[in-house]
Symmetry: C2
């Protein structure tokens, strides 16, 4: 029965996440986690190869929750601006309990070698899930997004979301009010900006931007 093993793993993860939330990243030492969970330090390492992997656990959990909450918030909202707001606000919502932890999280995540790195391999599943949210936000919107943008837009929005998350980490205003403001302001603006793609002079710029994005993405 794998249940016992899984139980220990969960116990360690749960204790770790709770402590990250309650007392922050640095004070949550591996020894403290082990003690609180009633296992040895080595045992914690048997399930998680590093402290970073515990952070990864948190990342996955938060992303999962975001997917659920965002899908709910998208119901009945059809305009792109509203849908963007929904996805971004719920994103901030699920991260909220970890705000004080955010800086350490990002410092961990940004390391290419880290399992938590959102661009890295270990996070492929979580990233795909997150991307799917934005894809759904774009595809389900009406009036529809210009066809030529539809393919790349979700990925660009996800990238922008990473930027918003970064902003949020630094946002010391009460309840991260400024981030909320940024979202509320930027979402309609972006939606409006995209609708300009029709204007002849502007359309060319859009094409070039897309071309650049694609060429840089595919290396070559």
């Amino acid at each position: 029965m794998a249940a016992k093993s899984e139980q220990t793993r969960q116990l360690v993860a749960d204790v770790a996440l709770m402590m990250f939330r309650e007392i922050g990243f640095e004070k949550t030492t591996m020894r403290a986690i082990a003690q609180e969970a009633g296992v040895s330090v080595g045992n914690a390492y048997y399930y998680f190869a590093s402290k970073d992997e515990l952070v990864q656990e948190l990342y996955v959990q938060v992303q999962d929750e975001h997917a659920v909450v965002a899908a709910q918030a998208l119901e009945g909202v059809h305009d792109l601006a509203g849908r963007l707001k929904a996805v971004l606000h719920t994103g901030i919502d699920v991260m909220a309990p970890y705000h004080q932890f955010g800086a350490d999280f990002i410092a961990t995540a940004i390391r290419p070698s880290s399992p938590v790195n959102p661009f890295g391999e270990a996070s492929t599943a979580a990233r795909e899930a997150s991307l799917a949210i934005f894809r759904s936000a774009v595809e389900g919107s009406s009036p529809a997004v210009a066809k030529k943008l539809r393919g790349d837009l979700p990925e660009l929005l996800w990238l922008a979301y990473m930027g918003v998350a970064l902003f949020w980490v630094y946002d010391r205003s009460e309840g991260q009010r400024r981030t909320r403001k940024l979202i509320d302001g930027a979402a309609p603006l972006l939606a409006r900006g995209l609708s300009l793609a029709k204007i002849p002079g502007v359309s060319k710029v859009f094409d070039d931007v897309l071309g650049l994005v694609r060429s840089v993405k595919e290396d070559s």
Copy 2:
């Protein structure tokens, strides 16, 4: 005579920077720095309160060099796209020797508590210097940038530069070719995009973007 003291400080800094460049951040242990410099570990800490402060030293040095090289590269270039390219390319140039170190540097820098954090207090001077480069790039360009953009543009470009630096860190292509490509593609595009500010329908969007930037920046 303060010379002896300053000499030790410089020695430690020089050895540290050299080792960062040669063998990377993690392998450059405080003990190794001390040994290589022929001082005790405690002595290194007498001059630098933390390993992070040695990274800060590197940051300042690189920024200083960027200011010099960029000013040179700006001479005789008048169009905004060209000036942007000059500033960005020289930025990458001065960072180049530290590419493998980049990820660790950014992981360090991104922590709000870190002295290296580009938004933080300890980096005010370095940030101002860097901002000044972009201000000069914008102000010295002809045809001139639309007046209403001129004030905020340097700061936004600096922000974009942080983004480019981030991209560069992750860029594993040979000689960071992709980053160069991004710069070459994005600079003219941005310049052209800005020139659209004249078109009535687009102008409004620009105003709103500026309004948002200002309102978020000033908190409230």
